[in-house]
């Protein structure tokens, strides 16, 4: 199977869907001639032209609103936000509008749009460029929220997202763009709403999504050396959430560490931790642990920014707690 990057996987997904359906367009800042701020859309402008791959003026609210109107009129726009941090300038269009039209119109209006771009911390970007904003969107009924962490999942989920008739918020990650993995040549879709066991194990469940998957994998490898067999459940889809996959894992292991690079208050991580505490209470051998970002804005200094985020040692420390080890 070919090994490609997460970035290429996203590009292939958009390319295939644009070839398949002439109603799919891509718009955002720098997506056309410049090939995307992170080169995700490389080659698409040459292939599909300025009518379908559109560079916009700098106004997230403007091009997000335009995408909503275009979707109502029958197109299937993909909106690229240069980062989710700037999606905050467009959040009114997403939450008050895209997420509501179907409901407000009694089911008559649909807004099939994919809002995508890098989310979460990268490096040297400080507080206004590093936020993990998944819970802002996952909080809101009417939106689908996806967060793939491998090239395989990125491609399969993006294709599903483009075909979905609901507005989909699709969270990528600057650090993940260069990650590599196997992606089949033949067409496939990854279903929305399905978690994936990235590592089977029997002693403890690590529930994770997005970039911290790597830290969870590093932690699991380290724990294996100490004879602890961790299971990694990658959520992939945050709304809808595959609760069954989570409970099946926790019922098997009896111990649960949730990892989420957002802030801890009212996050996906704290929501999952509550669900597990409630629905797996009789199976749990220890209280659920949450490894999140420290509850502070992101600093710039590299030493500090690393200290803020979930890391393998922090995950190991949490595993030791749920296993009552020293």
């Amino acid at each position: 199977m070919p090994i490609i990057t997460y970035r290429e996987a996203l590009r292939h997904a958009m390319d295939e869907e644009m070839a398949r359906d002439g109603k799919v367009i891509l718009l955002g800042e720098e997506v056309a001639q410049y090939q995307g701020a992170y080169k995700v859309s490389q080659g698409l402008w040459e292939k599909y032209g300025s009518k379908r791959v559109i560079d916009t003026p700098i106004t997230e609210e403007g091009f997000t609103g335009a995408a909503i109107g275009a979707a109502m009129a029958g197109l299937r726009p993909i909106v690229e936000w240069m980062t989710f941090n700037f999606s905050l300038q467009a959040i009114d269009q997403v939450i008050n509008n895209a997420a509501k039209y179907r409901y407000m119109s009694g089911g008559q209006i649909k807004t099939p749009i994919v809002f995508r771009g890098p989310n979460g911390p990268a490096e040297y970007l400080a507080s206004q460029h590093s936020q993990a904003l998944q819970s802002f969107y996952a909080h809101c009924p009417g939106l689908v929220v996806l967060a793939p962490a491998t090239p395989y999942d990125a491609k399969g989920l993006l294709k599903s997202a483009i075909r979905d008739d609901n507005p989909v918020v699709f969270l990528e990650g600057e650090m993940m763009y260069a990650w590599k993995g196997e992606v089949p040549e033949e067409e496939y879709l990854v279903p929305i709403g399905k978690a994936d066991i990235k590592r089977p194990g029997k002693d403890v469940s690590l529930i994770v999504h997005s970039k911290p998957l790597k830290a969870a994998q590093d932690a699991a490898a380290e724990l294996a050396k100490a004879g602890i067999d961790a299971e990694i459940v990658d959520l992939r889809s945050l709304r809808p959430l595959d609760e069954k996959a989570i409970y099946d894992s926790v019922k098997k292991t009896g111990r649960c560490v949730v990892i989420d690079e957002s802030w801890p208050v009212a996050s996906i991580g704290s929501w999952v931790a509550w669900l597990v505490s409630k629905n797996c209470f009789d199976y749990l051998d220890a209280p659920v642990e949450l490894v999140s970002s420290e509850d502070v804005p992101m600093p710039y200094n590299h030493r500090l920014e690393l200290a803020v985020q979930p890391s393998a040692p922090k995950i190991i420390e949490a595993v030791k707690k749920v296993m009552y080890l020293g």
Binding site: E30, I58, Q128, Y300, H302, L304, L306, S311
Partner: protein, 371 residues
């Protein structure tokens, strides 16, 4: 009758480097030389910063090369008590306000000497003591904030105005519309200073706006719009001084479009050859604001070639030495992470801090950030 849609571009320095005394603004010789030295310092410093970024010694940098005259003249034409809201391409403005180079480098590195405690990106320098607000990364957000500061000054009866810098790209943002509309309605003492450097990352001006130019946008909001040659130091100085005097005297806001060119990359992660030609860049190098200012000063008898050479050499030495010293300074301690989230350390932040210290300095001294 001037064409309102195409305001003339104000310039002072002519092609031969001379200024007509009738239009030349009054600036003392000492000040002129001070501004020249600062422009040269910024030019050389940024060449170094881009090299250091490539060597991995700093994380990121967005140079203002080509816009030295533009942003320094604007800052020079207002008073130290006035607010400056920067976008990020204005290093000369904070140096002019009095930041020593060492302070600047501490901020660029985000080390423990940084008054911003290693919290902000390079180019996002600020100092509230100097009424210099740290740039806000989301484009355009500083524009309405500058108006608010100006309205507050007016309300308090302070003789203080606001100068807000932004790019041509930022004129598409809601912040631009909100800011200009508010300033028009409330007659706020503010100068909207647009550095039209022709590009927003790769996007050329004509794809940003269908307006003939940016200055005319002022009219729609009920204010004067002025176009000025941004590579002409005295011309920019003159335009901003005019707008500042007007604002101070109750005349309200002005939109100034300084026509310039970003000679360097958008930032250390950009490659301009992807979206513009070398020829175009060469044409603008012909209008290098530093060379034009040099000619102007030479013609005034204020500058000799041997002085320029020795100045370059001494600036380079100062820059290299100061940076080397700044690099030796320790990063901020991870304990400082939890400060300034609120006005005091809340109990839950205190708890997180203790936990982090326990990881970092506890048994075995394991450091989570060394993984």
């Amino acid at each position: 009758m001037p064409d309102l849609y195409k305001p003339e571009i104000i310039s002072v320095i002519n092609d031969d480097g001379y200024a007509d005394p009738a239009v030349d603004p009054e600036i003392s010789n000492d000040d002129l030389l001070k501004y020249y030295r600062l422009m040269l310092l910024v030019r050389i410093m940024e060449e170094n910063l881009l090299d250091w970024q490539r060597q991995g010694r700093i994380g990121f940098y967005a140079p203002c090369t080509g816009q030295e005259a533009c942003h320094i003249a604007a800052a020079a034409a207002i008073e130290d008590r006035d607010w400056i809201f920067a976008q990020y391409r204005e290093p000369g403005a904070i140096l002019l306000r009095g930041w020593p180079l060492r302070t600047f480098f501490a901020q660029t590195l985000g080390n423990s000497e940084d008054i911003m405690k290693g919290r902000q990106m390079p180019d996002h320098f600020g100092d509230p003591e100097m009424r210099f607000v740290t740039p806000s990364s989301p484009i355009g957000t500083q524009i309405s904030q500058a108006v608010g500061a100006a309205m507050a000054a007016k309300l308090k009866g302070d003789d203080v105005i606001s100068l807000v810098y932004f790019g041509d790209g930022a004129t598409s943002s809601s912040g631009f519309h909100d800011g200009l509309n508010f300033a028009g309605v409330f007659k706020a003492p503010v100068i909207f200073f647009c550095q039209n450097n022709q590009y927003a990352i790769s996007l050329p001006l004509e794809k940003q706006t269908a307006s003939e130019n940016i200055a005319i946008k002022g009219q729609a909001y009920g204010m004067e719009g002025i176009r000025v040659d941004g590579n002409d130091f005295p011309a920019v100085y003159k335009a901003v001084k005019y707008a500042a005097d007007k604002a101070r005297n109750g005349g309200g806001p002005t939109l100034i479009e300084a026509v310039t060119y970003r000679l360097g990359p958008h930032s250390s992660s950009d490659d301009p050859s992807r979206y513009r030609t070398r020829d175009e860049e060469k044409q603008w190098w012909q209008k290098d604001p530093i060379v034009r200012f040099e000619n102007y000063l030479r013609n005034k008898g204020l500058l000799q070639d041997d002085y320029i050479e020795s100045l370059r050499a001494s600036l380079q030495t100062t820059i290299s030495e100061t940076f080397r010293e700044a690099e030796m300074v320790e990063p901020p301690h991870p304990e400082t992470l939890f400060d300034d989230v609120y006005d005091h350390l809340t109990w839950n932040l205190e708890e997180q801090k203790q936990e982090l210290i326990h990881y970092a300095l506890g048994e075995g001294g394991r450091c989570p950030w060394q993984i």
